[in-house]
Amino acid sequence: MRFSRKLLGIPYAVFLIIFVVAPLFVLFFYAFTNGEGQFSFSNLTGFFSDPNTLGTLCYSFALAFVVTVVCLLLAYPTAYFLATSKLKAKGVIIMIFVMPMWINFSLRITALKEILTMIERNLAYYPFLNSVLGMTYDFLPFMILPIYNVIVKLSPDYGEAARDLGADSAGTFLQVTLPLSVPGILSGVSMVFLPAMTNYVVLDMLYNSTYIMGSLIGSYFSAYNWHGGSMIALILLAVICGFTLLTDSIGEGEVKRGGAML
């Protein structure tokens, strides 16, 4: 048999079928059946009629939104500064931002927990604030790197052309640099927003009893309510799909105009 390059894809295809496609079918099956194994919409209607689950969805959304905005506000100036400065120690500074990613994240969050405990005494006082702090700390590099990558590749010609045509430095930034770095912002946002909806391990480790979507699913499964848990997972999947399509459609416009999506 002639060796074809397509054969190289088989291992991953097998992996995909066993660990992604098949579980999705199982998920669908559980989400739309009841305890007796009969087809049912009761899980769906149950989710949207329960104020607790709806509240968790809204809370997750709000938390993820705030985390994303805080990350963006911290990351953009940092990335911009790193990408445009002519510092000799630039490599070292980038390393400082990347290095936390080399340390196991549970260790990092535990360290953060200890610091917060020292400041707040009881972590239960500010659950929302602590969640934002923990997630921002954890996800910040994922926002910095894509933005940095886009800005560092921007030709300095654009900025010079804008200055040459009469824009001052603020005008140059707002009209040229910022719009051209949108692709980086978008990939940063999708890399932070989506985990922020679900990553309840951060919250758990901060002794945080508030529920986000991830913890809600976890609690259903640990109570052996696989049908309800599957439905929530499916709803989350739909939310994430919708969000990804949204950022893609904004990003596509940028890519078509010559920007670079990470």
């Binding site: 030709s155 010609d157 654009y158 010079e160 052309a161 804008a162 200055r163 040459d164 045509l165 009469g166 824009a167 001052d168 005008g171 009209q175 040229v176 719009p179 051209l180 949108v182 940028e254 078509k256 105009r257 010559g258 920007g259």
Partner: protein
Amino acid sequence: MSESSNIIELKHITKSFEDGFVAVSDFNLEVKRGEFVTFLGPSGCGKTTTLRMIAGFDRPTSGEILLNGKDISHLPPNLRPINTVFQRYALFPHMNIYENIAFGLKQKKTPKDIIRNKVKKVLQLVDLEGFESRSVSTLSGGQQQRVAIARALVNEPEILLLDEPLGALDLKMRKEMQLELKNMHKELGITFIYVTHDQEEALTMSDKIVVMSEGKIQQIGTPEGIYNEPENAFVADFIGESNIFNGIMTGHLKARFAGGQFETVDDYPEGTQITAVVRPEDIQITKPGEGQITGKVTDVIFKGMHYEITVQSGRYELVIQSTKSAEPGSSIGMKVEPDGIHIMIAAEHTNYFNVDMNRDQMLEFNGSVLDTKVENIIKGSRRNADNQLVASNGELIDPEKIHIIAAIEPSDIQMSDNVEDCLVQGIISDLIYMGDHYSYVINTDIGQDFIVDDEYLWNMGDLVGLVLPIDKMRFTVKK
């Protein structure tokens, strides 16, 4: 007042970078309103740096830039009435053509309807009517270039700077754009400052050419002036093709070079060492023995408009451009009219010669291996474990692809009677007494004249060997 006709003056501009590299040194230039000025030079000669200082992207280390008599060297680019057409266009990819062109006017808060009119007009000027809503990436290189020009021109700048704007276009497109730019310049009356390394482009388009090399102005002049009366060997060599010879004045309006006696129109005192430049088209082919020199045709190439004929005359090689062909191998005479010879006083007498790299990656000259370390000459190179020469990136250096030029001062060369032991041998063809030493011109066996200073008197026509001490040679690597 003569001041008022100069739109921009550069006075003693010097630019050095943090690493100590001097990009431009003591640059002085006056540009008249409405002139088309071209900075011409090889890459790295400082022409783009000079342009960037005029635009305001770089600040001069010292010196002043006067615009209409006022020093603008510390104004940021957005406050200068100067616009630039960038080499890679730098059109904003997130804006369409209309938004790109309107950008400058928008910064000045021009009313929308005026912007619309001006954009429409300037698009007509560059022949792109109706392109307003197209996106940048759908345009060809030539169209993008036109948009870049339109984007600069719409602001009605006092000076338009163009940084090798046609470099990325193919030959046919470039020729068309050259004409169009020239016409635009005539039509608009704006001062153009143009940067190029293409001498033909410079000669075609400019009112005034500034020839630069290694950060210094070599010559400022009209295209004709620079072509016909180059001030030094660099300019002669860079502008058009030339035959360049070392020689000597032998009398009133008489010079000897290339093994012949020539009448000249430039007069220098007898005995002056000179550099003679003869353009290939100024050499006429005659019957053997009839011209000032004779030679043997070694190569003929048909170039479309003319033949390019290479002739070996004694130890000299000459290039002739002629509408008539010649038979390779045949003997011909060559005649040059006095006005076809341009004589310059030889500024320096440094001897330059090519050295080769052999298969062992050692330097070789005239059949002898030079006892030098090549890795010290080629920057960043080193010997690997197999004693092969590698570049800093680890790749093997191909001896075929590297050209090394050695330079040696006349006073560092000694003459010797032991002809066989010397790197080069030759016959003394000229000598002048310089007060404290004699300066000799030696016709060597490698087909090149060496100039040698020696305090002792040798005789004309003597066969001598030249001792070239390796520690006195300076090597440069030519890419």
